[in-house]
């Protein structure tokens, strides 16, 4: 299986270590992975702002770059969700369908496509999981707290296998962090309040490290943590799964 690695724009620019960790992790799991260098963005920023019309070029560009891979893996639930659900406004050629149906968030890919192998990671810290909304309720990467059914969570199941990790339950297990893309700017007051409340929930439970599958959420929470000089940090799940003793 040939896997194309999609690195979200903000990870490429601000958090390359997450991209590195994702790549190294996949290589460790014996995946034949390649990073198409002409890739750019999944088109979310324009589309979520109401300008879907301007994101069509990004969509076509994405498909061009990834059509020849069996699967596309990305350390971002929101990007994977956007590709799967919102690439419906360009012509649905075989290539487009193929790309849409085979784009995976990282933990989803490891659990369900790779057969849930051991990743051999070790991370001796108290960790709180931030369940990013697009992944959770968009891609159903876990059961949301609102629905009735058997609980499950791909990110949680990957992290329980990490040695020496202590996973901590939160007061509100899957409330939104308030990033929401341009919402973070357009509704700054509520966005920050939501982020503060999420961070405080983790702090109240004694969490040292907040992790999640979406760096955008973590970036927003980190901005608040740094501004308020709080004794807690954020680490993307790819970095935890790629960590060693």
């Amino acid at each position: 299986m040939k896997v194309g690695l999609f690195i979200p724009c903000y990870i490429d620019q601000f958090y390359p270590q997450v991209g590195v960790a994702t790549l190294e992790l996949l290589e460790k799991l014996n995946v034949e992975v390649c990073y198409p260098q002409q890739q750019t963005c999944c088109g979310q920023p324009m589309a979520n702002s109401g300008f879907e019309c301007f994101s069509k070029d990004s969509y076509s560009h994405f498909v061009r770059n990834f059509k020849s891979f069996d699967a596309i893996v990305t350390p971002s639930g929101s990007c994977a969700y956007h590709v799967r659900h919102h690439f419906d406004i360009i012509g649905q050629s075989e290539e487009v369908s193929h790309v849409r149906n085979n784009t995976y968030e990282l933990c989803d890919f490891i659990t369900n496509v790779l057969g849930d192998p051991e990743v051999g990671a070790s991370f001796p810290h108290k960790v709180g999981i931030h369940q990013s909304c697009h992944g959770l309720r968009g891609l159903r990467l876990g059961k949301s707290s609102e629905t009735v059914g058997e609980p499950f969570s791909f990110i949680h199941s990957q992290l329980t296998k990490v040695k020496e990790i202590e996973l901590v339950a939160l007061g509100r297990g899957d409330e939104c962090c308030g990033f929401g893309g341009t919402f973070a700017i357009a509704e700054e007051a509520v966005s920050v309040k939501m982020g503060k409340d999420r961070v405080n929930d983790h702090i109240a439970q004694g969490v040292e490290v907040v992790t999640g599958g979406d760096m955008s959420c973590l970036m927003h929470m980190e901005g608040i943590i740094k501004r308020n000089k709080l004794a807690i940090r954020v680490v993307h799940v790819a970095e935890i799964l790629n960590s060693q003793n």
Partner: protein
């Protein structure tokens, strides 16, 4: 005022925001406890959704069936195109009966039609009898929530209000005392009212009856003591059969607050022998909304308020910041149909987290509709600055070289510009958040340096 500005105002008092958030979250968490007791909960939601989809597909047929059966039961049926006609119809019924005082139970439809001021201007005293509605009526405000209209008010504020309007003695916000005072005050109104008006939770096509659910008993106290009952409903409140109520009455109260059912679920089929009963069926833009394929499913709504209770934005901005009769997620997808320009900001008052869609008992795809309304808003009433920014972004984000160069530039500037240039009042992100630490290079260059050579 836009939601964004109003919400920013609301957030100036952080303690109050925390209090409001906790109060509304309390309803959400009670809902969770209540629904967990029904193992078939997700099947019930699916059944409710299917019933409502069937209703939308045969709305005209069910409405005519309802009217036929209601008429046969001695109920008078009226049709109102819009809010103005609704108000005229209600007024003319009241006028015929020389009504001076009308007691009214909760009806978001009558809020939508601005019925109270219409009647008051014509010399009719309108008494809202739901305690929450009465509180805001006395305070001269509109409801901030669909099922808990006064959820934004603290008990001490209600105490002050009752002292001023009902002459109660100061009680430090004692809920028992205040409720009892309202009971006595409103009992007098019930016993002396000339007519009773209710909303409609569900109208049943096959029997021509209407169902009204309350915990307080105020709808029944109003209607059973007066010679005239007027029930007002939006066209979409129809359900086909009595047995379908089994589904909806199991979903409604649990979704709202986790209760298994409200204290009273009253089914009105025929008027008392000494009473006239009227049903006013209202369109007011609903039939137009039915014609929008992307948005018509919002007409499935049963006004349970679950989406408000779960919405992290609603809880931290309060119902009044939406500026619409119905606030929160459902309000944000219904209001643009009423006035796209006025409510153009509402679809953006959301992070699209999807929690609303997951709690909706009739499975309205609320967060998908919010996304789609954004596209409509930007097409019809584009924000010019946003539009040109996004057009530019589109160019950048579909061209690897340009993206790479601009990304480098952004990181360079953020690193080397003085703090006051980066963190200033135009930098909205930076008001309360720091920017991320800046890496030496981006992933692309790392890959070229460390892996690309392996690909040759």
């Amino acid at each position: 005022m836009t939601h964004s500005k109003a919400a920013a105002e609301f957030n100036k008092d952080e303690k109050r925001v925390d209090w409001h958030d906790k109060a509304v979250w309390f309803m959400r968490s009670n809902r969770d406890k209540g629904v967990a007791k029904i193992s078939q909960w997700e099947d019930l939601r699916e059944a409710a959704s299917q019933i409502k989809l069937d209703v939308l597909s045969k709305l005209d047929i069910y409405l005519e069936e309802f009217e036929k059966n209601a008429l046969a039961n001695g109920v008078q049926v009226h049709w109102a195109e819009d809010a103005e006609e609704h108000n005229q119809i209600v007024h003319s019924i009241l006028q015929r009966h020389s009504v001076k005082t009308l007691v009214k139970s909760k009806s978001m439809l009558t809020e939508e039609c601005h019925m109270n001021p219409y009647l008051e201007q014509r010399g009719i005293e309108v008494i809202d009898t739901d305690l929450g509605e009465r509180i805001i009526q006395l305070a001269g405000e509109g409801p901030s929530h669909i099922t808990a209209p006064a959820i934004h008010k603290k008990k001490e504020e209600i105490d002050e209000l009752f002292q001023q309007t009902m002459g109660t003695t100061p009680s430090n916000g004692d809920p028992q005392y205040l409720t009892n005072a309202a009971r006595v005050h409103l009992r007098d109104k019930f016993l002396n009212a000339d007519a009773g008006l209710t909303g409609v939770n569900f109208a049943i096509a096959e029997s021509g009856g209407v169902v009204v659910c309350t915990n307080e008993g105020n709808a029944d106290m109003g209607v059973h003591l007066t010679p005239v009952h007027i029930a007002c409903m939006g066209v979409e409140k129809i359900i086909p059969k009595l047995e379908h109520l089994g589904v909806f009455l199991r979903l409604l109260a649990r979704s709202a607050s986790g209760q298994s059912i409200t204290s009273y679920s009253s089914h009105f089929f025929k008027p008392r022998p000494d009473q006239e009963m009227h049903v006013v069926i209202v369109d007011n833009g609903r039939s137009r909304h039915l014609g929008r394929p992307d948005f018509r499913n919002s007409l499935k709504c049963i006004r349970c308020s679950a989406c408000l209770n779960t919405c992290p934005v609603y809880r931290r901005s309060g119902g009044h910041s939406y500026g619409s009769v119905i606030p929160g997620p459902i309000g944000s997808i219904l209001s643009p149909n009423v006035d796209l320009k006025k409510y153009s900001g509402l679809p953006f008052a959301s992070t699209l987290c999807g929690s609303c869609s997951d709690v909706c008992p009739v499975k309205i795809d609320i967060h998908q509709q919010l996304y789609k309304w954004r596209q409509v808003v930007m097409k019809e009433h584009p924000d010019r600055i946003k539009q040109s920014t996004m057009r530019m972004a589109s160019g950048v984000l579909s061209n690897a070289r340009v993206f790479d160069k601009l990304g480098w530039l952004a990181r360079f500037l953020l690193k080397y510009l003085p703090g006051w240039m980066v963190y200033n009042k135009w930098n909205t992100w930076g008001r309360q958040r720091d920017f991320p630490n800046l890496p030496q290079s981006n992933f692309r260059h790392w890959y070229i340096k460390n892996r690309k050579k392996n690909e040759q």
